[in-house]
């Protein structure tokens, strides 16, 4: 499968280094309310370059950093690394395995990494667009949004189609 792994550390409720290893086909994710399932989906959006606070359920860039709990102290950085299998060159880059990383600091800055090397947001966006990962609305369908297209005005829906198709 093209989706290999997601590593999180300090991203929302994922205070400790956590790894999701994905298999081809269907990976089900289950768990109680508030346990972190949608936070994981947010992390995928975020590492793919999402800039909209609304889509991430945040109000400022550094809201994605673990703010602490009653037993744990806040952290200073959030990190997400998505590893993809580029076996058939579906991503326009000369590597068999590609990792895309993003870090956020309390100061508000975000850093991007491609295969561990510093990159600019536009490099990430360009790389992903080449692999059809630019259309964020098709790649991550957020909780409560599956029927969003039905509430849009026809012109707004047209816009959505032009991005997706």
């Amino acid at each position: 499968g093209r989706l290999r792994e997601l590593r999180l550390h300090g991203f929302k409720t994922f205070a400790d280094p956590t790894r999701f290893v994905f298999e081809p086909g269907i990976n089900a994710v289950i768990g109680p309310n508030g346990s972190g399932k949608s936070n994981m989906a947010d992390a995928v959006r975020w590492v793919l370059g999402e800039q909209s606070n609304r889509s991430l359920r945040t109000r400022r860039g550094d809201d994605v950093i673990f703010t602490g709990s009653q037993q744990r102290r806040p952290q200073g950085m959030a990190e997400a690394i998505l590893t993809l299998d580029n076996f058939d060159g579906w991503l326009p880059i000369d590597f068999g395995e590609v990792s895309i990383g993003r870090r956020a600091y309390r100061s508000g800055e975000s850093e991007y990494l491609i295969n561990g090397a510093p990159a600019r947001l536009r490099d990430v966006v360009e790389l992903l667009a080449g692999g059809r990962l630019g259309a964020n609305e098709l790649v991550v369908v957020g909780q409560g949004t599956v029927d969003a297209a039905l509430s849009l005005r026809p012109e707004e829906r047209r816009q959505l189609f032009e991005e997706a198709a």
Binding site: G25, N27, A165
Partner: protein
């Protein structure tokens, strides 16, 4: 550009009718580009859905589950015409009844041959078509933790 849009749109429209018929177990559906004659701004995209046995009505009158099913049909149509490498679905089956979840799970399974899915769900029928299951829980320290599960580990309650 306009040419490419209209080719993709026609293909997506055909798949949308097929997916709606599959997920609703009947009825009909289509996508249309408004030509401006019916008082709508020209160029907008109209969604038309008629569940089995019912008469064509406004989209706003559909039930919660019918809206979710239509949204899934539209998503699957776009994915099958222009596949993405992977797709994260966050509780898209929340409003579906048992029969509709079953059809959703089957359609998902077929699509998963070409697209890797990560499906966040509380529904057993959806979990049952998964190849891998992850459990996310909250520790006492209010930190997320992930564990690999097998179907036998999934709690048997009304929702998983």
């Amino acid at each position: 550009i306009g040419e490419r849009f209209h080719t993709a749109f026609a293909a997506i429209g055909r798949r949308f009718n097929e997916y709606c018929r599959l997920l609703f177990a009947g009825g009909s559906a289509s996508l249309r580009v408004s030509d401006g004659t019916d008082g709508e701004a020209p160029g907008g995209i109209e969604i038309v859905v008629q569940p089995p046995g019912k008469r064509l009505q406004r989209l706003s009158m559909l039930s919660g589950g019918e809206r979710a099913l239509t949204g899934v049909a539209l998503l699957f149509s776009m994915l099958s015409v222009n596949p993405v490498p992977f797709c994260i679905l966050d509780e898209v089956d929340a409003a579906l009844d048992e029969a509709n979840i079953g059809r959703f799970a089957e359609a998902l399974r077929t699509l998963s041959a070409q697209i890797d899915f990560v499906v966040i769900t509380h529904n057993r029928a959806t979990i049952e078509v998964a190849d891998t299951i992850y459990g996310v829980t909250m520790t006492d320290a209010a930190v997320s933790r992930v564990l690999s599960l097998r179907l036998a580990d999934v709690p048997v309650g009304a929702t998983a």
